[in-house]
Symmetry: C3
Subunit: 153 residues, 3 copies
């Protein structure tokens, strides 16, 4: 088991099976030293674990959990093409889209559920740049969608 | 005529004249081996071919057509700086924004109109990662906006 | 003082102190020759200078000013890791998100406030690709959010 997966386990988390894409594309690709995922939704198995809009259907804490699940799925995707999460040398970027009801402005707090996990797992090299966007509509009514960029050796 | 343009013709499609930008920027750029377009709108000539929101003004099939036009325009832009579409070795990423009425959640199905064309044209190397985002407002009321990343030799 | 900062001064503008991130991430990173910022908000000091939605709370001219402030903040972030803005060889990409009231479709005009400044400062190498997206909700109610990509030698 990789060091990163051990750290996940120590946090009480587990790398899921990488979810299949919901359309005619691939879930992860590599260009040069960059590995980039498709926008990940908060799938647990075949179900969206958190559906609805932040600020109406979901509380901020649920949004944080949704964002964390997106990251677990993103890491699972990355593992499928690099073999081991220990090959990740740095996290580069997180593109975060938060399904937001009118007036909800705490997209950063929701996405911290994702960003904090990355720093817990990877330490200083887990720190990344981020976009935090509130969107009105989301595939499958998902609470969050996150694309992740990492650098590999 | 390039192989890719011949394939387009076989599909009954044609590479358009690359539309000019609607602002103070360029439609396509290259950095290293990556060629990245600006967000392309469904222009046919000087007109937006599909205006309005999916789920209110437009049916899903029209959204698919809009997404396909965005890709034709993106390929036309890419041709202006690489010379021939046959120089594209892989499609890397599609950033898809779908103009969505409240409750519309089929952004992936709409964007499949773009993704499927890329795979028809480029085969396995046409498969790409994708973000699928529903947005409430769009420049010129366009149905879709797509930025495309490809790798060249 | 760098050449670019002198040009800023000639335009009556000044590079601000780089604003701290509003979440658990970093404001700027480098991968290869690319330097990419987090989504920048129109902070002036610790205040969002332009809050609200274009087309309801704010006029287009205010949106342009907000977009320009985002670029000043992005350049300040970039300076913190490359040392001098004169090390920027090209501007690659601007990802622009405009906080938009229903029916507002002039996202490109708003973002031209950012794009024009980049071309004034960097000339031809300041020209970049761009996404122009209208979003319904924004962190801290900010009028605009912009992520900037530049190339360094």
């Amino acid at each position: 088991m990789s060091l990163i997966e051990q750290k996940l386990r120590d946090l009480g988390l587990e790398l899921p099976v990488a979810p299949p894409p919901v359309g005619f594309y691939v879930p992860v690709t590599r260009t040069g030293n960059l590995v980039i995922t498709s926008g990940q939704l908060p799938f647990v198995g075949r179900e969206i674990a958190f559906a609805g809009k932040l600020g109406a259907d979901l509380h901020e804490a649920e949004g944080r959990d949704a964002a964390q699940i997106c990251i677990l799925n993103a890491l699972a995707q990355i593992k499928t093409i690099v073999g081991s999460l220990d090959k990740i040398t740095r996290v580069i970027r997180l593109e975060g889209f938060v399904h937001s009801a009118p007036g909800f402005q705490n997209q950063p707090q929701v996405l911290n559920g994702a960003s904090e996990l990355l720093v817990q797992l990877f330490g200083e090299p887990g720190k990344h740049v981020r976009n935090a966007i509130g969107v009105a509509e989301m595939p499958l009514n998902a609470a969050t969608q996150i694309a992740l960029w990492v650098e590999v050796a």
